[in-house]
C-alpha cells in the first residue's frame, strides 16, 4: 500500500445505529471482510466510518428526521464513533459524537503531532490530510450498493461527476464548479444600476442648472453683455471700475470706501454690487447740495403750508362776511328786526286786551242765563235791564248772543294772536341766526389775525396793516425756488454719474448671476467625477477584471479537465479491462472501452460513455443498454477497482469500502471477484457481504492471517454481536 495514504487502523463504535455498548475493531490497516445476515450491523459499521469522517450517513438520504436521532441507538443517550487512521506521519484519531435531540455533532481530530482540533477546524484538518469531501468519498472510496450501478445507468451528468471523481479530477471539478461568474455579473449590474440612478439625478440637475444659466445669459444680453463679458474676470473689471468711481466721489463727502479684492465667485460679485448701491445712497445723503436742497425744500414746504392756512382763513372770513351781508339784505339788519319784533309784541298785547273784554261779556251773558234759569219770575233783563216781554225769546236771544256772536269774535281774536305770535317767533329766529353769522364772521376774523401772526413768524418779519400777505408769501416761495434750482444743477450732474455707476452695478449683477449659474453647472459637472462615483467605477472595472479572470480560469480548468480525462482513462484502462475480463467474461462483448468527449452544449465538461464491444465484428453497445444487472455491477466494479489499482485517485484515503459486491452475481463471477480481492494489495479493502457463497469462496482462497474477517451474529436488543 502506498505509504502516503491513510488506512483504517481501528474503529470504535458505541450508541450508533445497531451498536449499543462501545465495540472496538482493530484492523491495523489490513483489508477486512464483514460477514453477517440482514440487520446484523454490517452496513452500520461501514456507515459509522463514513459518519465519523464526514458527519453524513448516505444510506439515510432523504429519509431523515430533523435531529437525525435515527443515528443514535434506542438504548443510548448519544452516538460516538472513533476512528484511528494510520498515515504516512503517524496515527490520526478522529472522534465524532452526537447526542439525542440535536442535529449538531461534535468532531475532534488529533493529528500525529498531538495537536487536537475541533469541529470546523477538525473538518478542515481532515480535508487537508485525506483530500476528500463527502461527495468525493461516496464516489471514490465508499461504493454503496445503490451507487455501484449508477456509474453505468446514471444520467449523463451523474456519470460525468462520478467518473471525474474516480479519475482524480474531483479537485479540478470542484474548482470549475466554484468559479461562478454570475454573482460577479450580478454585482456589476447592481453597482451599475446604482450609479445610473445617481448619474440620472445629477444629469437632471445639470440640465436644470444649465437652463438657468442660459436664462441668465439672455438677461445679460439685454444689458449688452455677451460672450467674453460674462466671466468672473469681466465682473471683476467692472467691479473695479465701479469702486474707483465711488472712491473718487466719496472723497468729496469724506466718506471712506474700502478697496475690494477680486471676487472668486458670482456671489461675491453680487455682494459687491449691493455694497456699491449702499455707498451711492450714503454719498447722496452726504452731498452739500443735497443738504441745502433738503433744507430749502423743507422751508418751501413750511411756507406753502403757512400760505395755504392763510388763504384758507381769508376764504373763511370772506365767506362769513358774505353770509352776514346776504342775510341782512334778505331780512334786514338787527335793529330793523328788533323793531318788527316790538311791533308784533304790541299788537299781540292789544288783541289780548280785546279778547279779555269779549271774554268778560261772554261770562256776563252766561251768568245772566244762569240767573234767569234760577229765577223764573224776573221781569227785567239782568244784562240790559230792559223789560222782559217774552222770556223764551230773551233766553233764545241770550243763548244765540253767547254762542254765535261772542264765540265767533273770540275765535277770530285767538287766530290773530296766534298769527302775531308766530310772526314774533320767526323774527326771533332770524335774529338768532343773524347773531350766529356775526359770531362766525368774528371768529374768522380772529383766525385770520392768527394766521397773519403765523406768516410773520414764518417769514421772521412783522406784517404791517394793509400789506398783501399772499403776495409777500408768493415772493418768498419764488425766492426759495430760485435757490433750489441753483443747487440742483450741480446735483443733476452728480446724479448722471450715479446713474452711470448704477448701470454698471446692474451689469455687475447680471454678470454675477451668469457666473453663479455657470458655477452651479460646473459644480454639478464635477459631481460626475466625485470620489464616490469614481469608487463605483473602480469597483465596476475591478469586478469586470474579476469576471474576466473567473471566466478565463474556469475555461482553463475545464480545458484541463477535458485534456486530462482521456489520458487518465487510458492509464486505467488496462487494469479495468483485466478486471472486466475476469468478472464479466462476456461471451460476445469481450472488450470494454470508455469514451471521453467534451460536452457540446452548456458549460464545458467531460461526457463519459462506457461501452462494450466485439473486436471481431465491430459490434458495440452502451453497457447500460444491453448488459444484465449482474454484468453492469461487474462493469462498475471493474472501473472502480481498476482505477484504484492504477492509482489514478488524487485523494489520500488508502482504503476502499465496498458494500455487498456480489449482489446479482453468479458463482463463477463470485470466484473471479474473490480472486480479484485477494490480488488487490494497493488499497485496504473493507468489504461487507451476507453472501454465504462468497464467504465460502473467500475462506478457500484467502490467507486470513493477512486479511481480517469480522463476523456479525444475530442482532438483539443488546446490540451488534461482533466476532472477529
Amino acid at each position: 500500500m502506498p505509504s502516503d495514504r491513510y488506512a483504517v487502523k481501528s474503529v470504535e463504535i458505541g450508541g450508533f445505529r445497531g451498536y449499543r455498548d462501545p465495540q472496538r475493531l482493530d484492523l491495523n490497516g489490513q483489508s477486512c471482510m464483514f460477514f453477517g445476515g440482514n440487520r446484523s450491523g454490517k452496513s452500520s459499521t461501514l456507515g459509522a466510518i463514513e459518519w465519523c469522517l464526514f458527519g453524513e450517513f448516505a444510506s439515510l438520504r432523504g429519509e431523515t428526521t430533523g435531529t437525525l436521532d435515527e443515528l443514535v441507538n434506542d438504548h443510548s443517550p448519544r452516538a460516538s464513533v472513533t476512528i484511528e487512521l494510520q498515515g504516512p506521519s503517524g496515527v490520526v484519531k478522529v472522534v465524532r459524537t452526537k447526542s439525542r435531540g440535536t442535529k449538531i455533532t461534535k468532531l475532534e481530530a488529533t493529528t500525529p503531532d498531538g495537536k487536537v482540533c475541533k469541529d470546523e477546524e477538525a473538518r478542515k484538518t481532515l480535508y487537508k490530510l485525506i483530500g476528500l469531501e463527502f461527495d468525493d468519498f461516496t464516489r471514490a472510496v465508499y461504493l454503496h450498493q445503490e451507487d455501484i450501478r449508477d456509474l453505468i445507468v446514471g444520467d449523463r451528468d451523474t456519470r460525468s461527476v462520478a467518473m471525474d471523481r474516480l479519475l482524480g479530477l474531483d479537485q479540478l471539478r470542484n474548482v470549475s464548479e466554484g468559479l461562478k461568474p454570475k454573482p460577479v455579473r450580478d454585482a456589476i449590474s447592481e453597482i451599475q444600476a446604482a450609479r445610473d440612478e445617481v448619474v440620472a439625478a445629477i444629469t437632471g440637475r445639470i440640465q436644470e442648472a444649465n437652463k438657468h444659466h442660459v436664462d441668465a445669459v439672455n438677461k445679460a444680453a439685454e444689458k449688452g453683455l455677451t460672450g467674453p463679458h460674462l466671466s468672473l474676470d469681466a465682473g471683476n473689471t467692472i467691479s473695479a471700475k465701479i469702486f474707483d468711481n465711488l472712491t473718487e466721489i466719496a472723497g468729496e463727502v469724506q466718506l471712506e470706501v474700502q478697496k475690494v479684492t477680486p471676487a472668486k465667485s458670482g456671489n461675491e460679485l453680487s455682494g459687491y454690487a449691493a455694497v456699491a448701491r449702499t455707498i451711492i445712497e450714503k454719498i447722496r445723503k452726504r452731498l452739500p447740495e443735497t443738504k441745502q436742497i433738503n433744507e430749502l425744500t423743507e422751508e418751501q414746504a413750511r411756507i406753502i403750508a403757512v400760505k395755504s392756512d392763510y388763504s384758507a382763513a381769508v376764504s373763511r372770513l370772506n365767506l362769513a362776511t358774505e353770509s352776514v351781508r346776504t342775510y341782512e339784505k334778505e331780512n334786514g339788519g338787527k335793529t330793523s328786526i328788533e323793531g318788527k319784533i316790538e311791533a308784533t309784541q304790541s299788537r299781540t298785547k292789544e288783541l289780548n286786551a280785546e279778547r279779555d273784554q269779549i271774554d268778560a261779556k261772554q261770562k256776563t251773558i252766561k251768568d245772566g242765563l244762569k240767573y234767569l234759569d234760577e229765577f223764573t219770575d224776573v221781569k227785567n233783563c239782568p244784562i240790559c235791564q230792559r223789560t222782559i216781554e217774552d222770556r223764551d225769546e230773551l233766553l233764545k236771544h241770550l243763548r244765540k248772543e253767547a254762542k254765535e256772536k261772542i264765540s265767533a269774535k273770540l275765535v277770530d281774536i285767538d287766530a290773530k294772536i296766534e298769527k302775531e305770535t308766530k310772526k314774533e317767533d320767526g323774527l326771533e329766529g332770524i335774529l338768532r341766526k343773524l347773531d350766529r353769522l356775526h359770531g362766525d364772521e368774528e371768529r374768522a376774523s380772529k383766525e385770520l389775525e392768527q394766521k397773519i401772526i403765523d406768516v410773520s413768524s414764518a417769514l421772521s418779519r412783522p406784517i404791517k396793516a394793509g400789506e398783501n400777505v399772499a403776495a409777500i408769501l408768493d415772493a418768498e416761495l419764488g425766492k426759495i425756488k430760485r435757490k433750489i434750482l441753483k443747487f440742483q444743477k450741480p446735483l443733476e450732474e452728480r446724479e448722471r454719474k450715479f446713474e452711470e455707476i448704477e448701470s454698471q452695478v446692474g451689469q455687475l449683477l447680471a454678470i454675477a448671476e451668469v457666473v453663479n449659474k455657470k458655477q452651479r453647472v460646473d459644480e454639478l459637472l464635477k459631481l460626475q467625477q466625485s470620489e464616490e462615483l469614481k469608487k463605483a467605477e473602480d469597483a465596476l472595472t475591478a469586478l469586470s477584471g474579476l469576471e474576466y479572470t473567473v471566466n478565463m480560469v474556469g475555461d482553463c480548468v475545464r480545458g484541463l479537465q477535458t485534456e486530462l480525462a482521456p489520458a487518465l482513462v487510458d492509464k486505467g484502462m488496462p487494469a479495468i479491462k483485466k478486471i472486466y475480463d475476469c468478472l464479466v467474461a462476456h461471451p460476445y462483448y469481450s472488450e470494454l472501452k470508455i469514451e471521453v468527449e467534451p460536452s457540446s452544449r452548456g458549460a464545458l465538461k467531460n461526457i463519459y460513455n462506457i461501452k462494450a464491444l466485439n473486436p471481431s465484428d465491430g459490434g458495440e453497445t452502451l453497457v447500460c443498454q444491453r448488459f444484465s444487472t449482474g454484468d453492469m455491477n461487474c462493469v462498475a466494479l471493474s472501473v472502480f477497482l481498476g482505477l484504484a489499482q492504477q492509482d489514478t485517485y488524487s485523494h489520500k484515503a488508502g482504503f476502499l469500502i465496498i458494500d455487498d459486491p456480489s449482489q446479482s452475481l453468479e458463482r463463477e463471477r463470485k470466484e473471479e471477484l474473490v480472486r480479484l480481492f485477494s490480488s488487490t494489495h494497493e488499497r485496504q479493502l473493507l468489504i461487507a457481504s451476507e453472501d454465504e457463497v462468497l464467504l465460502h469462496l473467500l475462506d478457500k482462497a484467502i490467507d486470513w492471517t493477512h486479511v481480517k474477517k469480522v463476523e456479525f451474529g444475530k442482532w438483539d436488543e443488546q446490540g451488534v454481536k461482533v466476532r472477529s
Binding site: I188, D196, L525, Q529, E537, L540
Partner: protein
Amino acid sequence: MTNFQTYKKLVSLLKTHGAQEFGRICQGLLEFALRRKGFSTRGRWTERPDILAEKSEDRYAIGSQATKDSMIGLRSRDLDGILEYQKRGYVPCLAILILEPNVRWTMIRANGLKPGVHSKHALRAFELRDITDDVNEAFPGIVEDYFGVVLGRGAAVLRERL
C-alpha cells in the same frame, strides 16, 4: 467646448436622428477624431470592423458602440468581426461612447470579451489608455465643427467628407 456642451449636442443628434442613425453619426465623428490625432483611417460603413485606424506601429480594428444606455449588449458577430483582424496584426478594439454629461469614449481591448450584456464602465477595465486619451481630446472639437451639418443631414454628410 466643454464635455457638457458636447453632451448636449450629442443628445440633440440622438433626438433628431434616432438611435440607429446616431450610431452611424458617432462612428463618423469618431473617425474624424482619430484623423485629427494623426491616425490614418478607413471607415467601413457596412461591415465589421467599423474603422481601421493606424498610426506608426499601432493598428486598430475598431467596432463602434454608441448607445445611450449604460449597459451594452455585445453579440458574437460584433466581436468576431473585430477579432478576425487580430490575425492581420490589428488590435481588436471596441469604441464605446459613454453618453453622460461628462461624455467620453472608452476604447477597450476586445479580445477575451465574451458575448453578453456588459456595463460600459466595467469594460473600462480593458481600456486602451493612449488611444482613449487621443479620441477624447479631439472629440469635443469634432462635434463642435460638424454639429450644424450633421444635425441637418445626418451621417451621410460625414460619409461624404471622410
